[in-house]
C-alpha cells in the first residue's frame, strides 16, 4: 500500500546548503534508503548518498534521520507517523562533501594510530588454541561494521572540533579493547595507550555511543568502562600491571 511521504533533505556542499522539501511515494515495508533512491531516480539525479549492501552489514549509509544518527537501510519508513515530515541530514561530526556524504577520513587516520595486532613469534600458523569463551569478548567488538555512528554522536567531538586531535572515539576504544582482550596479542600496553595516546580519559561515559550502535555492541559497559577501571588499577599499582601481563601471556585474562 503506497503512501505519500514528506521529506526534508539537506542538500549542499562544504560551503553552503540547506533543507529542501521533497514529496515522494513510499511502499509498505520500505526503508529510508529506498525513499532516497526513489528521489534520486525520479527527482534529483545528482543527490549524493553513500550506500553499499542495503542490509545493515557494511555501515555505509550512515546519516541523521530526524536528528538521530542511523543507518538509512535499517530505518523503516513505517516508524514515522502518517503526517510526520522526515528530515534527513548528513552526519554532523564530519565535514560535508556533498548532500548526505561527509568526509569520514578522520576515522581512517585514527585507525592508523592504533598499533596493529601482534602475533606471538613462537606460535606457528595453525597452532593457536583458544577457548570459545575467551574469544567471545573480543568477537563482540569485531562485530563493528564501521558505520561511525558512535563517532558521530559522541559529544566529545560532535561539537568540539578541537578535541579531534587527541580523541580517537568509541569506535577505536572498542578496537583497543578488542586487542587488549585478544587472547594472543603480545603488545602489552593497550590500556595505557588508550588512556595516554587515544584520549580514553576524555570519555565521561554518557553511553550515547552504545545507544546508536546498530550492532548493539555494549561499547561503554564492555569496552570503555573495563579499560578505564583497569587503567586506574594499573596506573597506581606496578605489581598488578606485571600480573596482568603475565596473565595475558598465559591466556588467563
Amino acid at each position: 500500500m503506497a503512501r505519500t511521504l514528506k521529506l526534508r533533505i539537506w542538500r549542499g556542499n562544504d560551503k553552503d546548503g540547506g533543507l529542501q522539501d521533497v514529496t515522494v511515494e513510499a511502499n509498505n515495508g520500505e526503508v529510508v534508503l529506498d525513499i532516497i533512491h526513489r528521489v534520486q531516480a525520479t527527482q534529483m539525479g545528482d543527490l549524493a548518498v553513500r550506500w553499499n549492501c542495503k542490509a545493515g552489514k557494511c555501515g555505509s549509509c550512515s546519516m541523521e534521520i530526524n536528528g538521530k544518527p542511523r543507518l538509512a537501510c535499517m530505518t523503516q519508513v513505517s516508524a514515522y507517523g502518517e503526517d510526520e515530515v522526515i528530515t534527513i541530514t548528513p552526519l554532523r561530526a564530519f565535514p560535508v562533501i556533498k548532500d548526505l556524504v561527509t568526509d569520514v577520513s578522520f576515522n581512517y587516520k585514527k585507525a592508523m594510530e592504533v598499533r596493529a595486532y601482534e602475533h606471538p613469534t613462537d606460535l606457528a600458523p595453525g597452532e593457536a588454541r583458544m577457548q570459545q569463551v575467551d574469544v567471545e569478548r573480543s568477537q563482540e567488538f569485531r562485530k563493528c561494521i564501521e558505520c561511525f555512528l558512535c563517532q558521530d554522536t559522541c559529544h566529545v567531538i560532535r561539537d568540539h572540533e578541537e578535541n579531534k586531535k587527541s580523541f580517537a572515539g568509541p569506535r577505536f576504544f572498542i578496537r583497543l579493547a578488542e586487542l587488549d582482550m585478544h587472547p594472543l596479542d603480545t603488545l602489552r600496553n593497550r590500556k595505557q595507550s588508550a588512556q595516554e595516546e587515544h584520549g580514553l580519559g576524555m570519555c565521561n561515559i554518557t553511553k550515547c555511543c552504545t545507544e546508536v550502535c546498530p550492532e548493539h555492541i555494549r561499547i561503554t559497559d564492555n569496552a570503555i568502562i573495563p579499560m578505564k577501571e583497569r587503567v586506574v588499577d594499573v596506573k597506581y599499582d606496578p605489581l598488578r600491571w606485571l600480573g596482568s601481563v603475565i596473565r595475558k601471556r598465559e591466556g588467563i585474562l
Binding site: A41, G45, C58, S60, I97, A116, V135, R142
Partner: protein, 628 residues
C-alpha cells in the same frame, strides 16, 4: 574542462579492495613492491563483508577424515565437473594455510572444544569444513585483511617514514579503463567519485579483483558495487571471459517486504538444521534429489533428521544439496502454486533449535528478519526464494599465476575470475577462493613486474581515456541512466534468469543491444561533485557488456548444468561438459567461441570412483582415464 589528471606511479595497481584485492596487495608489498589499492567505496566496505556462512578449508578440525582430496572432489561435483581442475586443486590444497594465516593477523574464528578453529556443515561439503564467526564470517575476513594492510602501512611508517610510501588506498575511485602501451598493460585510468577529478595510474601490472555482476539483475543479494566492472574492463582490454552463462541464484533470499527482496539468508540456516516446506507443509526437497546425488542424500525425513546427530551412518538432508539444485526446487514449487503468499517457500529453524542457540549461531539473520520484516525467526518460519548471488563465469586466467589469458600484465582473482567453480560454486568456497587466488595473483604480478619493468603511458592514451569521462556531460540525448538500468534488470530477470529458453535468450540479446544503443545518449544532470547519476553511466556500460556476454553464452549452451538451466534442453549432456564458452569483445559486440575444457590429469581422475565419473563423462573420456 577540468583540471589536469593526478598522476601516480606504482609497481602494481589492484582494482578492488575486497578479500582478493587486499590479499594480492599484501603479497605484493611483502615482496617489496609498491601497490595502489583502488576501490569504488570506502575502505572496508567491499562486498566480501556480506559473506555469512564461512570459509571452506579442509583443516579437519571437526572431522579428521577431511583432507584436500575430499574437498577437491566436493568442489568438482558441485561445479558438475566443468571446473578448471587445476584451480580446484590449488584451492583445496592451499585453503587451510590461508585460514591459519588470517589467525596470525588477528582474526578470531569460533572455536572447537579443543580450542581449534570450529568448522560447520554446508551444502555440498562432505564434512564440516567452514571456518566461521557466527554468521558474519565475511566481516571478519575483510576486517582482518584491512587491518593487515594497516599493519603493513604502520611498519612502513616506522621504517620508511611514510605510511603510504609502499601501499596507498585510493578509496571512492572508479576505474574506467585499463591502459595499454605496445600491447601490454601500462596502468589504469579513472576518476575520484568525490569530485570527478581524473587519475592516471602508471603501472606495468594490474590485478583485477572487482567481484561480481549481481546488479545486472533485478533481484540480487549483491551491493551496488557488483556491476561487473572488472569483467568489462578485462573484455575491453582484450582479455577473455569464460563460461559467463553460469550464474548462481542463491536459493534463499528474502522475498518480503519488497524493499528487502533479494537480501541473502545464509545457507548456515540450513546447515544448522533449517528445513524447507511449501504451503502444504510438505518438506519438498526429498522430491528433488538428482540421480547423481542419490547415494549421498537422505530420501526420508527420519534419516535426514538423524544425520544431525550421527553423520557417519546417515545420509545428508536434501536441504543441503548444492545451491543450484535447491534454487531450482524452490522455483518449481512456487511455479506449481505451492509457494507462500509472497512467492517464496518457508524456511524454518525454530523447530530444531532453541531461541538462545539461534540468536547465538545466527545473530545477524535474527536481527535482519526482526528489523526488516518483523519476523522473529526463533518462533516462526522465514519466507525465502532465489536471488542472484554469484557469477561463476569470469576472466579466463592461468590457474597458477592468475594471469589473464591474452593480455600481458593483467591478472584477475576472486569472483571476477572464472574457472574455479565450474557451473556452480559451493557455499564457503568463495572466501577461500579470494585468499588462495588473491595471493597467487599478487605473486603472479610480482614476478611479471620483476621480469618486465615499467611501461610508460603515452599522452595520446591518456587523452582518449579522458574523453570518455567527459562524454556524458557533453551528450544532449536525454536518456536517463537510472531508467536504462531498471530496464536492463527487467530484461535479465525475465529473459536470462534462473530458467531460460533459446527464444527468450535471443530476445534478450536484441533488447540488450537496443539498450546499449540508447545508453550512448545518456545525459547527466548536475556537475562532477559526488554525482551518482554520473557514476551510474560507467557502471551501466559495464553491466550491458556483461549481460550481453551472459545472454550469448547461455544461448550457445544447449544443455542444463549448474547455474544454467534451459527449459528447452533440460538434461545435462556429457558432450557439453567438454566445452568452455569464451567471450571476447571486438569493440562493438561480444563474440562467443567454444573451447575444449582442459582434461583431468590421471592422478586427479583416479581420486574418483569411476562409476561417479561415468555420470558426467563420455565413455571415450572414461576409457582414456584422464591425461598423462
Amino acid at each position: 574542462m577540468t583540471q589536469q589528471a593526478e598522476r601516480y606511479k606504482y609497481d602494481i595497481v589492484v582494482i578492488g579492495a575486497g578479500g582478493a584485492g587486499l590479499r594480492a596487495a599484501v603479497e605484493a608489498r611483502e615482496a617489496g613492491l609498491s601497490v595502489a589499492i583502488v576501490c569504488k567505496s570506502l575502505f572496508g566496505k567491499a562486498h566480501t563483508v556480506m559473506a555469512e556462512g564461512g570459509a571452506a578449508a579442509s583443516m579437519g578440525n571437526v572431522n579428521e577424515k577431511d583432507n584436500w582430496m575430499v574437498h577437491f572432489r566436493d568442489t568438482m561435483r558441485g561445479g558438475k565437473f566443468l571446473n578448471h581442475y587445476r584451480m580446484a586443486e590449488l584451492h583445496a590444497k592451499e585453503a587451510p594455510d590461508r585460514i591459519w594465516e588470517l589467525e596470525t593477523w588477528g582474526a578470531l574464528f569460533d572455536r572447537t572444544k579443543e580450542g581449534k578453529i570450529s568448522q560447520r556443515n554446508f551444502g555440498g561439503h562432505e564434512y564440516p569444513r567452514l571456518a566461521h564467526v557466527g554468521d558474519r564470517t565475511g566481516l571478519e575476513l575483510i576486517r582482518t585483511m584491512q587491518q593487515r594492510i594497516v599493519a603493513l602501512q604502520q611498519k612502513d611508517g616506522r621504517e620508511l617514514g611514510d605510511t603510504e610510501k609502499m601501499i596507498k588506498v585510493f578509496a571512492e575511485v572508479t576505474i574506467t579503463e585499463i591502459l595499454k602501451e605496445n600491447g601490454k598493460v601500462a596502468g589504469a585510468y579513472g576518476y575520484r567519485r568525490e569530485n570527478g577529478q581524473e587519475i592516471v595510474f602508471e603501472a606495468p601490472a594490474v590485478v583485477i579483483a572487482t567481484g561480481g555482476v549481481g546488479k545486472t539483475f533485478k533481484i540480487t543479494s549483491n551491493s551496488w558495487e557488483g556491476t561487473g566492472d572488472g569483467h568489462a574492463l578485462a573484455l575491453k582490454a582484450g582479455a577473455n571471459l569464460v563460461d559467463m552463462e553460469f550464474l548462481q541464484f542463491h536459493p534463499t533470499g528474502m522475498v518480503w517486504p519488497l524493499s528487502v527482496k533479494g537480501i541473502l539468508v545464509t545457507e548456515s540456516v540450513r546447515g544448522e538444521g533449517g528445513i524447507l516446506t511449501n504451503n502444504l507443509g510438505e518438506r519438498f526437497m526429498f522430491k528433488y534429489i538428482p540421480d547423481v546425488f542419490k547415494d549421498k542424500y537422505a530420501d526420508n525425513e527420519a534419516e535426514a533428521d538423524r544425520w544431525y546427530i550421527d553423520q557417519d551412518n546417515n545420509r545428508r538432508p536434501p536441504e543441503l544439496l548444492p545451491r543450484d539444485e535447491v534454487a531450482r526446487a524452490i522455483n518449481s514449487e512456487v511455479k506449481a502454486g505451492r509457494g507462500t503468499e509472497h512467492g517464496g517457500v518457508f524456511l524454518d529453524v525454530s523447530k530444531r533449535l532453541s531461541a538462545e542457540v539461534i540468536k547465538k549461531r545466527l545473530p545477524s539473520m535474527w536481527h535482519q528478519f526482526y528489523e526488516l520484516a518483523g519476523v522473529d525467526i526463533t518462533k516462526e518460519a522465514m519466507e525465502v526464494g532465489p536471488t542472484c548471488h554469484y557469477v561463476m563465469g569470469g576472466v579466463e586466467v592461468d590457474p597458477d599465476s592468475a594471469a589473464a589469458v591474452g593480455v600481458d600484465g593483467l591478472f584477475a582473482a576472486g569472483e571476477v575470475a572464472g574457472g574455479m567453480h565450474g557451473s556452480n560454486r559451493l557455499g564457503g568456497n568463495s572466501l577461500t577462493d579470494l585468499l588462495v587466488f588473491g595471493r597467487r595473483a599478487g605473486m603472479g604480478a610480482v614476478e611479471y613486474v620483476k621480469s618486465h619493468g615499467a611501461n610508460p603511458v603515452s599522452d595520446a592514451t591518456i587523452e582518449k581515456a579522458a574523453a570518455k569521462i567527459a562524454a556524458p556531460f557533453v551528450s544532449t540525448g536525454g536518456e536517463n541512466a537510472y531508467t536504462l538500468h531498471t530496464e536492463l534488470q527487467e530484461v535479465t530477470h525475465n529473459l536470462v534468469g534462473i530458467i531460460r529458453t533459446g527464444e527468450e535468450l535471443s530476445e534478450a540479446i536484441v533488447k540488450i543491444a537496443e539498450l546499449r544503443k540508447r545508453s550512448a545518449n545518456i545525459s547527466v544532470t548536475g556537475d562532477r561533485m559526488f554525482n551518482p547519476g554520473f557514476h551510474l553511466v560507467f557502471d551501466l556500460d559495464n553491466m550491458l557488456l556483461v549481460a550481453e556476454s551472459t545472454a550469448k553464452s547461455a544461448l550457445a549452451r544447449e544443455e542444463s548444468r549448474g547455474g544454467h538451466t534451459r527449459d528447452d534442453f533440460p538434461g545435462m549432456n556429457s558432450t557439453w561438459r567438454q566445452v568452455n564458452h569464451i567471450s571476447s569483445f571486438d569493440g562493438s559486440q561480444v563474440n562467443i567461441k567454444a573451447q575444449p575444457l582442459p582434461v583431468l590429469p590421471k592422478e586427479l581422475f583416479d581420486l574418483f570412483d569411476v562409476h561417479e565419473l561415468e555420470k558426467y563423462m563420455t565413455p571415450q573420456e572414461i576409457a582414456k582415464g584422464g591425461s598423462n
